[in-house]
Every structure is written in structure tokens, then in C-alpha cells.
Subunit: 371 residues, 4 copies
């Protein structure tokens, strides 16, 4: 069946394999009148580009985006925006032996089971390159949200067990600029250096590492989210868990809430400057699946890159037990490059639900239509 | 917008408020020919019934289900199955003062912000009673899965910080019968007693507790899940996070994966009895969003019940800072009653994706249509 | 698969068989704040009630609606509105012999082929009673549209070959009150009497008749409809063709357009009272799938009731050629009762697309959210 | 909102404007294992190519398709198939004056009303070039259907009022080869010549013509279609009415059914060679929204091309009454080029519903999964 479309009103459809002709996305339902050019998209794509540090693959991929439709005289027209990134660095021969066996931790076996065969070159559709479409669409969503004063910001919270200090401090106290310039994506230079040392060790051990990406949405109005199945947190969970290698999703206090008490977990409401606010934000900005006006706080837990250079046991397509050693170019960690992917999926989801909320009330519909 | 429908092929639409005329669900897309009666549904509903222990509310709710359509001569006809549970224990007066203020940790404020007003009686649509529709539908999904040899089993893994020993042991080593008969839902009597003592303490403290529900799916074939957005884990995440009070979702090793290494987190493939198996299951049965034939393992983290009997700070509808003390009947923990809800949402999701998978291959479609 | 849900934002899910416990609908996505009671729904349902004339079945069906959810203090809450009509007149024995053969023109054979068996009592899910859910939902849609100044009006244009004079005259020149009070639903008394005479003749011939229902939407703003697949006319076509017995759908000049020339078929634009108007309306109010501000004009062509009392050739379930004679209570025409069904499906579709249009422009979204 | 996606399981998303970089489609949900290459797609696209006769525009458009994803080693992989046709013949200057006024019969006015502005070059998204995506997707659907022994065939039934003789004769008695080689698309040479003479007259009159396209589906198994809203005919109606310029849709006898009697309109069932058949096919192969095993017969009624070279009254963007005379290259009729579009949309719809039907019965699901 179909699985490459996400969203209800702001709807994206991604396509493309690692070693096919290209990767792309069609963004349908983008409102008309947004100033948009390839420059805006490229800025987002560049944040996920490989080759920018020693901890990401050394492939030279330009990942230049071309907008094929939906823009006229510099603005979105309301019609679908099709974006294309050609694949340029295709060394298929690197992957030829992968055809015959199933790499542990990868989707080789499951794709074969589902479809009968697979495009084995570079992981095919399950390659990390698939996220290019998400990020190109996320750039648009993010840009439209910013028109509404809403910002979505992701960063690395932890690599391996190494976590930034005081991870629950508000976003304004995070050094986001730092996170955008260092190779880990962490908003804390000291922790980032520790994490780099850890990654160096992992590489020497022919091993890989996982980590945590946090994402926060600021200035989202209260009232966004559609009970009971289209709750804001439910849709964010799906958006984030659909990213390859994510194994857990948390909103607000997340797993810690399960061992807390109501008295410590409840956030008190208080008036502040004539506005309803919460004195704490254990809820992560969502109550009953609907935004409460506080910062949305979520976390994505990524598993270590499955491609490691150690010997591994596995089976081949003929049902034989074998031992393999993966070659080629593989990041020892995907977290730094995944930051912008988490940010993109969050932006897409939040925008979609913001648009969905516009039909919640008869009085507002009447005002909209001038009645 | 709409938010009360879940699923693509096996599609459920729930409706109803805590203190309205009733609660119900329409199950559309249930295949024809399944033997089904109210007895099967009632057995599931009875597992979430209040009043069965000291840790759940003492309301007397019969929660008797009536099947209104979709069954003929004891079998499903392929047409929508409508199920109705009348609300019987409606003491609306208990909730009259809730109308004027916002309870911390509840959806009172966010519903008002979204819709302009709310049905404040007993939480209205955000009441736990909303899950009746999910469970009635889950009973059907579970029954159909069992026809295919697939079982879905949920249980309580932890309450507060008290966790069952060796929580990662296979389901066959869990005492599920124990979990169905004690008041905590834990598959371990000793831990259950500790948890009960903890809950007793919470109640004496006028406080509440959270916990973890685990759920496992056995004998699911490999190949289920639709990349890239309709991955099995992505849909399970949405299904589970849409349940009220769930703040985190994990698949397999979940959050632990983020601090693991590739060498320890990868599951080796090995031939066992001529079948491809994994020697470990850190992945929780899902690779690349597609089932791998191993047990599916997920965990839902529930926050403590927000209704506690202590004094709490909040604001009223007129923007005044006030202190409230909640009265009425409220569970100190919702986890034991939520076990069957997690099991239901998992069954609904797995069944839906199992049906979606039927169109994955041309050769199988040809066989299906006799070509 | 599922087929009982219609609509994207204003979404209805119908259920129920002719001789089951009841018939109903869940309306999800109805905006909050609409004054609504069972009286409003009942008024619509009464328009499709049988037994009101000699040309409709003599069954005594009260068809009383109960609203089970979604209303609080007389207004919609934004949560799903569940409505139930109990079946009361169930003489299943009338239908016992239908079980063994396939009635020509009915869905008996196709249901058996699809599902392996069928609820044969009174047509089961393919009974005309299925439309009760559509009409109950249509009553809500119509009421909300009227809040926006938009009216949807259906009437009978033709029965057999007998057509009202000047069928293309504007709605304001139609005698809609007449159409609501006579047994044919025609807005012209003289033609109605002719049609009644024709129906009397049909009944004497043990035969049945078909006809045309027209529907018009007034005061719909320009801009409604979503190119290219969710065009307003495409969705109206689906809505109307999903009604049992409809065999053709026209918008504006419809089939006549195919033999016209561009010079006669094009509608000139002209300024009228400072507004853009069309001097003619061959287009039926839709250009490029989007409303143009003129009256929407559509027509539904209904086949004759397939249940006739003459002898008919058919086959039985065992593959034998047989001759049957249908008994029981059957309308010689369904058109008069279908008028409110066409009106309901049109209202549901137009409202849904009106809500969908709210996210078309960035500037309007900014205004909506106060930016 | 979104409107560029069609289908549920076999899901297509089209994009592109007449004078943008290109036109394309993403086909998601295509089953794995279908042999497919650009040759198959190109053959379909060539059938809608302009410039092939004097009755179609003289633009030189190569319309060469590139498959960007979803194919590996000559077979579909189950992942999305992205196809791109670059626009090459872009003389935007031809359209510069269109920017300032609204052409009668076109979507200029409604696009402006909806989106606030429009890409006016060549009709933008409402151009006939939009159908390239539909046809590319239709080529795939048609190819997959042929693997199941099902054929979809469209042809021109009428142009202006000139209709082929005996239009209801079975497909096997139609000269489809003739229809593919003459400039009208009619399966009858004599009528085609008459129609050509008529078109010549239209052109001399600076006028345009409409017509009827018929489409038939052979060998579709009984049981396809999902009551009550996803009926096969309802979805076909939406598919066909979503094609620009279609003003009416008929299934089987269509509008004629409205003036027929039950005794003449009902199709008798009879055993033929041990199979259930119908002695006539007034129903057009669909009963109760489900295929009955007979040939599916539908008709699409196209209005005349709105671009005519006569003087026409209209308004400009500033609200002035003006007279215009359209220039450029415009077909005097779109019907011949629309034949393959109707065939494509029919194939897409039929295939989608064929896939949807696979989950209708428990016993077949059990067989599918080896239980």
C-alpha cells in the first residue's frame, strides 16, 4: 500500500532511492502567497549535507535542489510544489555484495520479505537520503510558521550517554548558534568536545553511537491538535518515529512522568501579565492532545548507526549463516545530521495541525467568510 | 477538523462524552465472515471496567455493549459495525464547579481555547471513558488477529518506579494470568504487592502515580509496515500516544538504544530450524518500519492521574488566580485500566497494517485473483 | 475495505442495515458553537419518511432520531455528533425467500460476490434506509451553511419523461413550497399532476419509474473547490453518484454541453453593481473545479425502482434459472423521497469544501491567527 | 487545502503548470514486481500529444518522460514511482495579456478568487497539460490491470451532435484500431469523416466543439467497489469529473434510465456456461456500487474548448467591462486528446478499487497469509 504521503492539509509526498536518478518531494496544500525560492530550501538541505565533518560520511554530494512547480513570480501559487535533488555521487559497485545478504540492523531483510526483492544499492528507499524530501518540505513549513511568529528549533541533547547540562532549561538559555556550528549539533561547547572524543573512540573501536535530538516549538498558540486520534502529540510521535533509526519518542517529561507523582507532575496555571501561563512545563506544552500555549518540547531517541566495520554474524539470501564485514563510507553517528530532519518533521506536523484548527469554531468561520 | 477516526482499511470512528447519552464506536472495514457477538466485545470492556479494585474508581458502571449493525447470523457482513455503551452513572452535579476553572494536568483549558467552550461534565470528550470505543474496536481486531494466529498481549511493567524483574524476558516467561487477576496488571505477584503498597501510600498522601504498560505482538509475519511514513512503529507510536496521559513511546530497546553502540544494539541474523531469526531483539521486531518476524515489543509511559485531592494553584475562567481542591471519584493511577486500551490500540494498528500489506506484490495479487 | 466515511473536514460515517437494530451516523469535524437539537434533524428526516403518499411505501416508520453525543447546552461542542434512528418496522419474514435468489437491478448478487454472503433482509446495507444517516448529517451541514447565508435546495425536475417547464429558470422562479407539499416533489403543480397520473399508470402496469432531481446552491462565494482532483464538481459527482440508483450526474448544462459550441457555451463575465457576474450560467457555477459565485446547478438521474411486481427472470444461489415475482411494499418511484437525500449530500459536500478553502492563502491565515 | 492526490491504495500525486519547469506525477502504492520502463509510459503519453492532426494544437512538444525512482532492474520495487516531463515549448509572451483579464469559460477568475493571484501563463495549473501526470500514472495502472486480464478502452462516441452508430454495441464490435488512427478517436470511419467536416466548419466559424468519450472495462471480476460512499461508480464519477471540461458523467444507460421503466431497465440474470450473466447491461456493469462481472460502461461529456477566436465580452482585473479576442494556438476540440485521459483515470480508479477489495473476506485473508 501507500506510505510516502504525510499530512492532511499541508501534505507532502516523498520519493526516491539512494542510488536512483534523484530524490524529491511534492508539497501539496501549501497556502498561496508565501515568498519562496530555492535559496530557502537549500539552506535547510545544507544542514543535513554529508561531508561537513569527520563524523559524517566523506561523500561529496552537492544536493542542489530544483523547484519544478508551484512558484510564480517568487511566491507560492497554492498549487503543488515539486522539488528535485539529483543523485550525483553514485558508486553502486560499493554495494554489490550487499545484494546477497542481510545487514544486521538494516531493512534489507524486511524489504525482501515485503516486496520479494529490493533495490540494494545504498539502502535504496531506506537510505538516509530519503530524508532529503522531508527537509525540503520542512524548509517550507518552517518558513510559513515563521510568518506566524512560530519557531521550531532542534538540537542534539545527547550522544552516547553524554548529555548537555540542564537539558530542561528553556530554549532561550540554549546556545543554538553553537549547536549550528559544531560537528555534534549540541548547544554546549564543552559537552560537544566530550562527545567528539567519545565518537573518536567509537570509530577506533570500529563501532557507532546513538543519541538524543530535542526539538522545541515556541509561540504556538493554544488550541492546536484534534482530539482524540489526531492529537498534536500523537501526530508528532508518528512524524518523528517515521524517521529511520528513531526508537523512542517523548513529549515533555516523557519517561520520567511514569515514575512521578501527580503533585510533582501537574503544572499549575497562573495569570502572568494578564495571560494564562503554566508555572512549570512537565506537560511539554500539550494537554489532552491540544497545545496549551507553552513551549512544545519533544525528544527523539536514535539508535547507533547499524553499519559498523566490525565482523558481524548474519545470513545470506540462500539461508546460509555467514560472517560479514561492511565496507564503504558510513557515519559513526547519524544524530548531528538528523537534527534538521527532526526539526523539519516537527514543523510540517505543527503547520498541518495549525491549518486543521482553523475550522474549529462556527464564529471564526463566519468572521472568515465575512458573515 | 476531524480527529475521531483511526485507521486506513480497518477504520474506527469513536464518539461520546463522559456524561452524555453514551459512548460508542463504528468499525468500518472489518472483513466479512468473522464470528462475532456482544460476548466477545463485553469480555474486553470488562477488563477496563472501574470499580474492580480499591485502586480504581468506585463508580458502578455496567458498560454493557450493544451491537447495532454489521452482524448477521453471528458473523460480520463486511458492513460497518456500530457499537453503543449507554452512560448510566451520571452524577453531573459532582462536576458543576469544574465549569468555572481549569484543573492542572487536564484538558479543560485547552478545550476552552480550541472550541470556545466545553462540556465540563467529567472531562467530556477528554474523559477516560472515551477509551470504551477503542476497546470495543480492539476486541474485534484482536479476535480477527487470533484467526491468523497472531496474539497481542499487554501488561503493567512498572508503577511509580517499581518495575517487574527482568522486564525484557520473552512473553512466554511472563505470568500473564497473574497480570489479569491482580489489581495492578503486573505479571509478577511480588512486584504487584509492592506496587499496591506504593499506591496505598500515594492515596494517603492525596497523591497519584504513573507507570509503564508494555505490549507484545507474537507471530506477526515479517513484511508488515509501509515505508516511509506509514511504518509499523510510526503508526504504533501514533496509536499509543493518542491515548490520554501517555507521555512517551518506545519500541524495542527504546531510550536505551540512544546510549548503546552499534555492536551491542545490532541484532545478528541466524538460521534457526530453516528460518531466518535474530539472536537478540533490541529492535523490538521492527527494521526500517517493517516487521521482521520477531516479537513486537513496545512500551507506553503514563503520567500520574492529574486529579489529586491536594490543594492546587490554578486560574478561573475570569482570569483570577485561585486555589482548588478536587473532589469526587478518581483513580490514584490509570495504568491498570489502561492495559487493555494499549492492547486494543496495538491490535487495531497491527491488523490495519496487515491488511494494507496485502497489495505489496504483483505476484500475490495475481494469485489472489486467480491469475 | 472501508467505504462508509465521506468528507475530509466535515466527515460523516454512516452505518446500519434495513432490518438491523437501527441506522445511524457519526458526524465528525462539525465546528463548535452551532445551535442544534433533535428538532432540526427530525425536520430533515421527515422529508424522506415513507408512507406520506400513495407513491411511497405504506410502512409505518417513525424514524425518530436521538442525538447521542457532541451537543452541550444546545450547541455543538466540536466533538463527534452521533445520531441513532432505531428500526421499528421489521417484518423480516417478508424477505425470507429473497435469501435464495438474486433480484434483478438489486445488489443481492454483487454483495454475495464481494462478501461471500449477505444480510438479505430488506436489502441490508444497500437498502434505501441507509440514506437516513446521510440526511441526518445533511441537516447539520445545511444548518451551518445557512449561518453563512448559503442555501441548498433540491426538487424533482422530471419523472419518467415528464419534465417541469423551463427547467433552467433561476431558483427564485421555482415554486419550492409547492415542491415540498405535493407527492412528486416538483415545483410545478400542473406537471406534478401529470407525473402522478403517469405513476398511477406505472403501478397498474406492475411497473416502476425513474426521474431527475435537480439541486441548486445559492450564495456560495467564489473560490470553493480544490484543483485538480478535489474539484467542487468532482466531489459533488462522487457524493451524488454514491446515492443508490443514481446513474448519471450533470453540472450546469451537462450533457447538452457536449453538442454545444464554445460561442454558445461560454458564459461572458460582466460587471454588475460593482461585482463580477456571468451573463449566463451554462457552467453551473463552477469553472476549473472552483465555484465562480453563480448558482451551483446539478442534476441527478435516478433509475426506476428495481423492485417491480411483474414476473422476472433471474438465477438462484444454486445456479438455477428461475422466474420470480417480488412481493412486499415497494415504492413505484424513489425520486420524491430522494430529493432530500440529494440536498443533503450536496450540503455536506459544499460545506466540507468551504471549510477546506480556509487554508488557501497565507494572508488570510495570518489574519485568522492575529498576525 | 490539498487536491493533487487521487486514490487510496494506488495513489497518484500530480504537479506542474503549463509553463513551469515541467509536469509530473508520483505514483505511490504500485505493487512490487511489475515490469516497467519509460517505453510503456511514453506509449500512453504519445496518445495525448499535440500536433498530431489539424484539430489539435500545432505546438511541438516532445513530452518525453523520465522515470526518477521506484524501478530497479526493470521492475517496480513497491516504492514511489516519480515521473517527470520537462516543458519545452514555452512561449510565455503569448499569454502576457491574459494576465489582466478573465477568459470566459476558463478558470482565470476562479483561481484569482481562490488564491489571490495566479500563474496566468497558458492556464497554469488548469492547463490541459496537467493531464500528463494522469496519463503517465494511467499507463502503469493499465499495465498492471492487463496482468490480471482486465482491459480498459476509451474512444470518442460523439463530437458535437455527431454520434457513432449503435453506440451501445459491445466493445468487441467496435473498431478500436480505427479509433486509434483517425484524428477524432471514433471507432467508425464514416462518422469520423463527418465529425472532421463539422470541426472544419467550427474552425471556419472561429468556434469550438465538445463531445462524448466512452470508456469500457472488460473482464473485471464481480465484487469490486466499497459501499456506501466508495462505490465503484461514485469513484469513477469523481475520477472523470475531475478532468477539466467534463460536465456530465453517465454509467450504463445513464440519463436514459431516468425516463425508463423498471421492466425495461432491469437486467435479468441468467446462467450461461455455468456462470451468472446478465442478458442485458443497462446497469453498465455495476449494481449497488459493486461490479457485477459485466462490461463496465461509462461516458464523459466534454464541453467545447473555451478558447475561441471570436470576440468575447468579459471583465478585466480592475473591474472594467471589456471585449477580448483570444490569440495563440488552441484546439477547436479537446475530445480526441482526452480519450487517453479518460482511459487513464478509469484504469487508475478500477485498479485502486480492485486492490481495496482484497480485504473484504476473512477466509481469503487467511488463505493469503497461509492460515
Amino acid at each position: 500500500m501507500t506510505g510516502s504521503t504525510f499530512g492532511t492539509i499541508f501534505k507532502i509526498t516523498t520519493w526516491g532511492e539512494s542510488h536512483g536518478a534523484g530524490i524529491g518531494v511534492v508539497v501539496d496544500g501549501c497556502p498561496a502567497g508565501l515568498e519562496l525560492s530555492e535559496t530557502h530550501i537549500q539552506a535547510f538541505l545544507d544542514r543535513r549535507k554529508p561531508g561537513s565533518s569527520r563524523y559524517t560520511t566523506q561523500r561529496k554530494e552537492s544536493d542542489s535542489v530544483e523547484i519544478l512547480s508551484g512558484i510564480f513570480e517568487g511566491r507560492t501559487t497554492g498549487t503543488p510544489i515539486s522539488m528535485l535533488v539529483r543523485n550525483t555521487s553514485q558508486r553502486s559497485s560499493d554495494y554489490s555484495d550487499i545484494a546477497s545478504y542481510y545487514r544486521p540492523g538494516h531493512a534489507d531483510y524486511t524489504f525482501d520479505q515485503k516486496y520479494g526483492f529490493r533495490d540494494y544499492r545504498g539502502g535504496g528507499r531506506s537510505s538516509g537520503r530519503e530524508t532529503i524530501g522531508r527537509v525540503a518540505a520542512g524548509a517550507i513549513a518552517s518558513r510559513l510558521l515563521s510568518e506566524l511568529g512560530i519557531t521550531v528549533t532542534a538540537y542534539t541533547q545527547a550522544i552516547g550517554g553524554i548529555e548537555i547540562p540542564d537539558p530542561e532549561r528553556p530554549l532561550k538559555n540554549m546556545d543554538i548558534e553553537e549547536s549550528r556550528s559544531n560537528p555534534t549539533g549540541m548547544p554546549d561547547r564543552e559537552t560537544s568536545l566530550k562527545a567528539e572524543a567519545y565518537l573518536k573512540q567509537c570509530m577506533e573501536n570500529l563501532d557507532s553511537a546513538g543519541g538524543i535530538v530535542a526539538c522545541r516549538v515556541s509561540a504556538l498558540p493554544a488550541g492546536i491538535g484534534e482530539p482524540v486520534f489526531e492529537k498534536l502529540d500523537a501526530n508528532l510521535a508518528k512524524a518523528i518515529m517515521s524517521i529511520g533509526a528513531v526508537k523512542a519518542f517523548e513529549i515533555g517529561d516523557g519517561v520520567r512522568a511514569a515514575s512521578a507523582n501527580g503533585s510533582s507532575n501537574n503544572d499549575s496555571f497562573r495569570m502572568d501579565d494578564n495571560k494564562v501561563t503554566k508555572t512549570t512545563n512537565h506537560a511539554g506544552g500539550i494537554l489532552g492532545g491540544i497545545s496549551d500555549g507553552s513551549e512544545i518540547v519533544l525528544r527523539a531517541h536514535f539508535k547507533p548507526t547499524p553499519s559498523i566495520f566490525r565482523e558481524q554474524d548474519t545470513v545470506d539470501k540462500n539461508g546460509g549463516n555467514i560472517t560479514i564485514q561492511i565496507k564503504g563510507r558510513h557515519d559513526p553517528i547519524i544524530v548531528p545530521r538528523a537534527v534538521v530532519v527532526v526539526e523539519s518533521m516537527t514543523a510540517i506536523t505543527v503547520l498541518d495541525m495549525l491549518l486543521q484548527n482553523m475550522t474549529a469554531r462556527v464564529d471564526r468561520i463566519k468572521t472568515f467568510y465575512g458573515k
